[in-house]
């Protein structure tokens, strides 16, 4: 039994030799601290997260699979390639327009399996319930998980339930873990982007993050926005079929779902792992009017806002256009766009041509985006 490739769900690894670029457009004040305590930013998907994961986890567990740091591990067991991924879901509120925590917990794991080209097979779910949670809410969440699992054709086969004292949890936390099988000769990995490759985005960005934000009571936004939460496995399948039909399945270099940390964070990860540059075109990135409106008012950048039903792919230029055509026929890919390309220089960085023709650096944030006055 050997191990080919694998990785851990995280965003970027900021190593000490490679001090990061300060986001030219980030939250206003951005210093990092060597925090003696966990702060919210450690869960943001940004540099603080990466630093924590690197210093606390990766340095202690060092092994070739974990070191790959993808959103899923790909294990070779008995000649089969199995994908294995885990995520905890802690969203507030539990129910939001377009979905709920159960939906999210199934689709998030389905998507992490899909992103390495795996067919989702089996799911486990571990629940941490806060004393006082209305049982009916739990039932709704579980029904939603069932529907999501059925839709993604994944089977929930094992689980666990713990209860914590009131005030020691937050209604429901769900950890889902998925197993899938990689049964095509794909070679998808964040270190395979090459100069000349195209960057594909499957649709509007920021819907999930802004939907959640607008549900927080003190912000009091109203909109018809919905989370984009959806299972991407069939869109991925369509893409793999198209690439295969073009005799170039290896032309799909890598895929990622830009969840926590958003498009900017994921693309920076790919740039660094592949040791290439990337140039995006702001005007080709689809953002809904409501997401833009909320972002303008709060001073947020949609490039850093979470999505739960979008994928980014780096693909060979020869198949990019065919993939776009195919993706647009899929209900989850109707707004697919080529949003940029891989460049040779400057390595490890993402630049963006702005709508007015300027250029800026698109870096990873340190922590969470905060509403700004300035």
């Amino acid at each position: 039994m050997s191990t080919t490739k694998a990785s851990q769900s995280t965003t970027a690894t900021a190593s000490d030799e490679n001090p990061s670029v300060t986001g030219a457009f980030g939250s206003c004040p951005l210093p990092i601290f060597d925090h003696p305590n966990i702060v919210m930013g450690h869960g943001s998907g940004g540099k603080l997260s990466a630093e924590l994961i690197d210093k606390i986890f990766v340095q202690r567990f060092r092994n070739p699979i974990l070191d790959r740091m993808d959103d899923q591990a790909v294990l070779e067991i008995g000649g089969m390639r199995l994908a294995f991924t885990t995520d905890s879901f802690v969203v507030t509120p539990l129910f939001f327009p377009g979905g709920d925590i159960g939906h999210l917990a199934v689709n998030g794991t389905v998507n992490d399996l899909a992103m390495c080209g795996a067919r989702p097979l089996y799911l486990s779910a571990a629940f941490i319930l806060e004393e006082g949670l209305p049982t009916q809410d739990l039932a709704r969440v579980v029904e939603s998980m069932r529907d999501a699992a059925n839709a993604a054709n994944i089977q929930l086969v094992t689980g666990d339930t713990k209860v914590v004292n009131r005030g020691k949890g937050d209604k429901v936390f769900i950890t889902t873990t998925g197993i899938g099988i990689v049964d095509r000769p794909t070679e998808m990995s964040a270190d395979r982007a090459q100069p000349g490759d195209k960057v594909i985005l499957s649709g509007f960005i920021g819907d999930h993050g802004i939907t959640i934000l607008s549900q927080r009571e003190h912000l009091e936004f109203e909109s018809d926005l919905k989370s984009d939460c959806a299972p991407l496995h069939s869109l991925v399948e369509a893409m793999l079929n198209e690439a295969e039909a073009n005799g170039n399945i290896k032309g799909i270099r890598c895929m990622r779902d830009p969840t926590r940390g958003g498009v900017a964070t994921v693309l920076n990860e790919i740039a660094r792992k592949s040791h290439v540059g990337m140039r995006l075109h702001e005007s080709s990135i689809p953002v809904r009017e409501s997401v833009r409106g909320a972002c303008e008012v709060l001073g947020l950048d949609p490039l850093y806002v979470a999505n739960e039903g979008k994928l980014l792919a780096v693909v060979a230029p020869q198949i990019a256009d065919q993939l776009i055509v195919r993706m647009r026929k899929h209900p989850l890919g109707t707004e697919s766009q080529i949003i940029g390309e891989i460049t040779g220089q400057p390595r490890d960085m993402v630049l963006m041509k702005t709508s007015i023709g300027g250029t800026r650096v698109v870096d990873v944030l340190f922590g969470e985006q905060m509403p700004r006055i300035c």
């Binding site: 601290f33 140039r279 409106g293 001073g299 400057p346 007015i356 023709g357 300027g358």
Partner: protein, 375 residues
């Protein structure tokens, strides 16, 4: 979005750049006063579009950068109090004081809340009558009406558990201080459009006249800024100096009278210390005597705050456009965005932080060149 999208038109931007290029005959140093303008410039890559001879320098208009370290430490001391709900705009949460930032205070159990509007504090105070609600009222003239309204409403509603920790500063004295320096390099200003929306621009006229410097009150969208630069360059090239209003759809010479009235009712002008610059006479606002009971500085006697900015930091000169980050020996070595030593490294709009982002990479490759030519 109306009044937003139009001003991000790439074609018109290209024409404006072309126009600037055609008007410009020699190099000019122009300061955009406001951090919001700096933000827009960086976000849209406007600096990379301008002809090489137009040097934009970042002004002191970032309330986060200029809030003195003592004030930040005072805020932190109050936020640590167990009986207190400390409310702040999001920008301030990551600003380090002597012992960590508001995020770490929150992580240690402090009740720190991000508000979008000062008015949110009224609801919080009503819902938590047994807690002291303290609002960190930072800002320039633009934010003063909002902070004033909080004080006014708190008083009117008899909410005696609200107070304000005030760090309100005014732009004209800062411009005066920049222009008054013998080392001044700034030849024209993009005036702060949203500050002037509140106060008008009449008070900029004596400055322009006295220092013979063009001031173009400018908006925040890319086309606003490019037009503001064009208007400034046109004045510079023709040897004129006047206050002009690029942002006429939003503001006029007199500003917002009702806002000015409430500001005057609540606040009075006072000396203020600016981080990195030091004390500037009559450069800030404080609560009038009738509202002093709302002053968190008095309500919570925080003793023994003595802070020291590192000696080698030249942020004050940088904030005034006199020196550039490269001139600082700490830049990029002991001072980085992860561990900022001074004001201009604290915030993303601070000049040191912005230069750090680019400077490192410019050693190897020119971002702009590559960004453009590898198309």
């Amino acid at each position: 979005m109306k009044f937003v999208d139009e001003y991000r038109n790439g074609d018109i931007a290209a024409k404006l750049v072309q126009k600037i290029r055609s008007v410009q005959t020699k190099p000019w140093v122009i300061m955009e006063v406001c951090g919001g303008q700096t933000h827009s410039i960086v976000k849209n890559g406007i600096d990379h579009l301008l002809p090489a001879g137009i040097e934009l320098v970042h002004g002191p208009g970032c309330p986060v950068c200029v809030t003195p370290l003592e004030m930040i430490d005072r805020a932190h001391a109050i936020a640590r109090r167990p009986d207190t709900i400390f409310c702040s705009f999001g920008d301030m949460l990551r600003v380090p004081g002597t012992h960590g930032d508001l995020f770490s205070i929150k992580s240690q159990g402090g009740d720190v809340r991000v508000v979008y509007s000062p008015l949110d504090c009224l609801k919080i105070a009503q819902a938590n009558p047994d807690k002291q609600v303290v609002f960190f009222a930072i800002g320039f003239e633009t934010t003063a009406p909002a902070n004033a309204m909080l004080a006014w409403r708190a008083k009117q509603q008899g909410l005696d558990n609200i107070s304000l920790l005030i760090s309100q500063v005014l732009v004209p004295p800062a411009i005066e201080s920049i222009l008054g320096s013998p080392q001044n390099r700034v030849q024209a200003f993009l005036g702060p459009g949203h500050v002037c929306t509140v106060v008008g621009y009449a008070e900029y006229e004596p400055l322009s006249a006295h220092f013979r410097v063009p001031i173009v009150v400018t908006g925040f969208e890319p086309l606003d800024i490019l037009e503001g630069v064009l208007m400034a360059v046109e004045q510079l090239e023709t040897g004129r100096y006047a206050v002009e209003n690029q942002y006429s759809r939003v503001l006029d010479r007199t500003g917002n009278r009702p806002a000015q009235a409430l500001i005057a009712k609540i606040f009075e002008v006072s000396d203020r210390k600016w981080r990195g610059v030091g004390n500037i006479p009559q450069s800030g606002l404080r609560l009038r005597d009738e509202f002093r009971d709302l002053d968190a500085e008095l309500r919570f006697q925080v003793s023994d705050i003595s802070t020291m900015e590192p000696e080698q930091c030249i942020a004050g000169q940088i904030l005034q456009g006199i020196k550039r980050p490269h001139d600082c020996p700490a830049f990029g070595t002991t001072c980085t965005p992860q561990h900022p030593l001074g004001a201009t490294m604290v915030s993303a709009e601070g000049a040191c932080a912005a230069y750090y982002a680019y400077g490192r990479h410019l050693k190897d490759t020119d971002i702009v060149t590559i960004g453009e030519t590898s198309r």
